[in-house]
Symmetry: C2
């Protein structure tokens, strides 16, 4: 049904080659008249090049995949949006894949994406797993670029972009300290997650700068999802000594709100809380959440630039290890109470 190059060529008694070159603005000696004619006919026939055929010969699909653990988490949704928008300006398409925080899913995806349907992959990978390394290396061997985002998988050297988590944690910690808090609990990301550890470390550093030590009993391991925030929140709310909580992401912070309220120590009144991500919802809460805002837009653009840059660079050796960390900022709202 759809018109092909040949259709145009035939109609004008030209060869497909000529038409192709004209339509692709290749610099060849073609008189204006012919060119006009070809363009007009293409428009008339509603011609669109067949992407499959083009890709087959050019070896580029103009597709980029984004792998995120949970598209329902608005942080990743936002990320996806920016990545997609930015990609579009570069004529690339986004193939979005959500994995439900399942490492096996990541690997399965990697495997299937390798089947030459994307030029590059931007991955927010879920965990640490030896299989990652193998699979990622296979993908790289097939000349498909990878940029890791937000989280690092150790053991592979691919460019990485993300937030400066340590700095963000420090921001959170400092804010609490500055408001007079000394007994501060932290709900971390999963133990294996580098980002969570860094946020924790940053917070710890801030406390130490103020002469406060963060002892082990104050640290609760979460998994970045609501439920673990709620559970940790319940335990924390029972500890009379604790006055503030740093949740390593907003989703868990929401759980803390609920737990705190149920325990009769509401956030912003009795207990203080700082989150991380600054999700859209955080400002909508009855007591809006003070949170560390990730520069999502910048990170997205950066990831794309690096990925596409590598692709263009062709050579394929990844821009050595690190794409760079972007510093987050603190958005102060009403969830932290100032102690006398």
């Amino acid at each position: 049904m759809a018109a092909t190059l040949k259709d145009i060529a035939q109609r004008l008694n030209l060869s497909a080659a000529t038409v192709s070159m004209i339509l692709n603005n290749k610099s060849v000696r073609i008189p204006k008249e012919t060119e006009e004619l070809v363009r007009r006919t293409a428009r008339e026939l509603n011609y669109h090049p067949n992407r499959m055929a083009v890709s087959l010969v050019t070896k580029r699909t103009m597709n980029v995949a984004l792998i995120v653990p949970d598209i329902q988490n608005t942080f990743f949704a936002e990320l996806a949006k920016y990545v997609g928008d930015y990609l579009k300006t570069k004529q690339y398409n986004l193939i979005l894949c959500s994995t439900n925080y399942d490492v096996q899913d990541d690997i399965r995806l990697l495997r299937m994406l390798r089947a030459q349907m994307v030029d590059g992959i931007i991955g927010v990978f879920t965990g640490e797993d030896p299989e990652y390394t193998r699979e990622i290396e296979r993908v790289l061997a097939d000349k498909i670029g990878i940029v890791m985002m937000d989280k690092v998988v150790s053991g592979v050297t691919t460019p990485y972009v993300g937030t400066d988590n340590f700095y963000g944690g420090r921001l959170a910690g400092r804010h609490l300290v500055e408001n007079g808090h000394r007994r501060i609990a932290v709900i971390t990301g999963p133990l294996g997650s580098v980002s969570g550890q860094q946020r924790l470390a940053g917070c710890r550093a801030a406390l130490e700068e103020a002469g406060v030590t963060l002892d082990a009993s104050m640290i609760y391991e979460g998994d970045y999802q609501y439920d673990t925030g709620y559970e940790a929140g319940k335990k924390i709310a029972q500890r009379e000594d604790v006055t503030a909580v740093f949740a390593c992401n907003d989703m868990m912070a929401y759980g803390v709100y609920k737990a705190a309220q149920e325990a009769g120590r509401p956030i912003g009144k009795e207990l203080s809380l700082v989150g991380f991500d600054d999700l859209r919802f955080s400002s909508m809460l009855e007591i809006p959440l003070t949170s560390v805002r990730q520069p999502v837009r910048e990170i997205a653009a950066r990831a794309v630039d690096i990925l596409l840059g590598n692709l263009a660079g062709g050579a394929g050796e990844p821009a050595d290890g690190v794409g760079g960390l972007t510093p987050p900022s603190l958005v102060v709202r009403e969830s932290v109470v100032r102690l006398a």
Copy 2:
């Protein structure tokens, strides 16, 4: 770099045809030994068929595009997730496109997707525009299936799936009435939106069944976003006579929470509130929101089934006009107070 059919064939002194047939389980007479050999070699060489080449000859890309107005709205994120998951079980990939509620973007997308890179499109289109009709018809002419979701664009006959909005509105209205409410305000979607009008109509019907009339002063027009909910909420909270609010989506309901609280008439204590969508976040609120739950998962599956069914059916004539409305359900939480 990547191994091709020919590589396998050469290595085993077979023809590409043979290898292809074996790997695709075509029923041909091939002895077990050869088959085993081929499969083993394929695994060893880490063979993956080149999707572009396959698509070029089969005319199927195994990609489906989903167009949504705003991926940051968790309703659409959820939709995307389910569509993607379900598609994956059918070996299809999801290409996600978000348009920022921009009709021109929809049209641009339609145009670009037509370049044979997807087998079908599931679209939550933003508006009404004569250009839609033309563009959609062109897409259909190229044998690319379309299923419209959640919103209808009049004038084209493509299958449609969505929630039974009238029924949902009725559910909300009835719930309020059953809890003794008589003075009920409604915050609608944008005036032009069919879905919003239907939710309102359903609610009105429920009230009338109970002998309550919904007069014009009780109706506030919103746009499905937080801010208009908040604004309407502020006005409503000042009207002493009103005891309950039906917000036509959860996003706006969140605004009402805030407004109500600021006005000293908190939801679930003084004022009652019912939302629509049942976003993930609604159950996380301090006073969890009673909301009409859209059967997102079912809608997603349905859309995919219809799309793929049409594709398989080949003939291409769309399953006449309507794919069907799925009834929503009411999720009762704590935002509605029972009047004496």
